[in-house]
Amino acid sequence: MVDHVTVTVADSHAGVIDEVAAQLRQAGMDVEQVLGTLGVITGSIDDALIAAIEALPGVGAVEQQASFQIPPPDAELQ
């Protein structure tokens, strides 16, 4: 199963985020965004490969993406 994930790059690798992204691609992640200012990379990956990318140098955390949903426009409580 493919998970949408957010990878938080460790502070130590904030300056070399593109290298971290390249490693993630090589490990099987479909990288969608490299957010250099934040030090965060988003994309999708087969859940069987998550443990492998968690162990990569420069990877601080790998989390499944959360979804957000606000109520419909006619709701009194927003």
Partner: protein, 403 residues
Amino acid sequence: MSTVPAERVPETTGRSVVVFSDALRGDRDAIATALRSLADITSVVGTADDPGGALDPDAAAAADAIAFDALGVAVVARDPSTLAAMVQFAAAPGGEILAVEPERVMHAIAVERPGVAARFADDNAFTWGLRATGVDASSATGRGIRVAVLDTGLDLEHPDFAGRSVTARSFVTGAPARDGHGHGTHVTGTACGSARPAVGRRYGVAAEAEIFTGKVLDDGGAGTDASILAGIDWAITNGCRVVSMSLGADIRQVSTAYETVGRRALAANVLIVAAAGNNASRARGNLGFVGVPANSPSVMAVAAVDADLAIADFSAASNPVEGGQIDIAAPGVDVYSSWPMPRRTNTISGTSMATPHVAGIAALWAQATGAGAQALWDALVQAAQGLDLPASDVGAGLVRAPG
């Protein structure tokens, strides 16, 4: 026999409550016999008549007496003083009847404060929220400060934003930054709306701030971490000093991504404020909890109060995880602000509505003091007006604008 306190005469129904001795409790027949031994009582219905222990209200209304067998109590359709005399006359053997009391009228304990006007109200010039937070009396306008609102976008044709500096960008695939929902236009109006809208009272806080509207939720109100994080990245890159996020997911656990992002944003001189969440239902005893991303220690979590400065029923309380506490409170009930045309304005409630009050006021403080992001956080907390409410509900208290 019990006596009634002189200072407060309770309402009574004219019926009597008869209390039987423990020996009769649970004994349907003995209770019925004891009741019928009293002069003219013939029809007795009881909870034991129903397999579920419930009473048929129509049968109960027609009966002379209603026996709550399991309680050893009966309600008798006779005047209490008459009945008490009967009990004494009958001198029931074995002390079966312990007491006869008037049946009282009970009322629900109301949560609203009866007959007292709310402390604040919308008037011709300002919303109650701008009055309560001191924006009405502040000389700061947010001029020169960039404020990012990450939401469903903005109605870019709305007349109240005409002539304003607006930079719009969509992070939702295939959707323009135009607000097709309404939520984004409402929260942007509160944070940055005009000091002189063409119609109606003022509702906007930082009326001269530069608006950066990032669409991170689609027109159905749905979004993902990917679009929200992209929006934050864009806001920081563009030099926004404040990021307002009226969104959240009901997840207790802190997200490493948002916590790290909040920390890096502060280091880059950007304050992120986020809605605590609407997952409480306080009247029913559910205090809720602060969710992602507001539960990150590095993100300012905003609760909602009403025009009486009471906590809103829906406003989530602190979550025991580190950083899961409420940091500050702001007006979030019956908040009037802009809405996509042709409707123009709308009045709605939520911690979503409280959050842009804090974001706009943060922009006022940024302009007034030149403070960096962490100092801005400290200024907001220190200036907050203490409320007579638990810190777990309102944090430092009600957000206040600089003078």
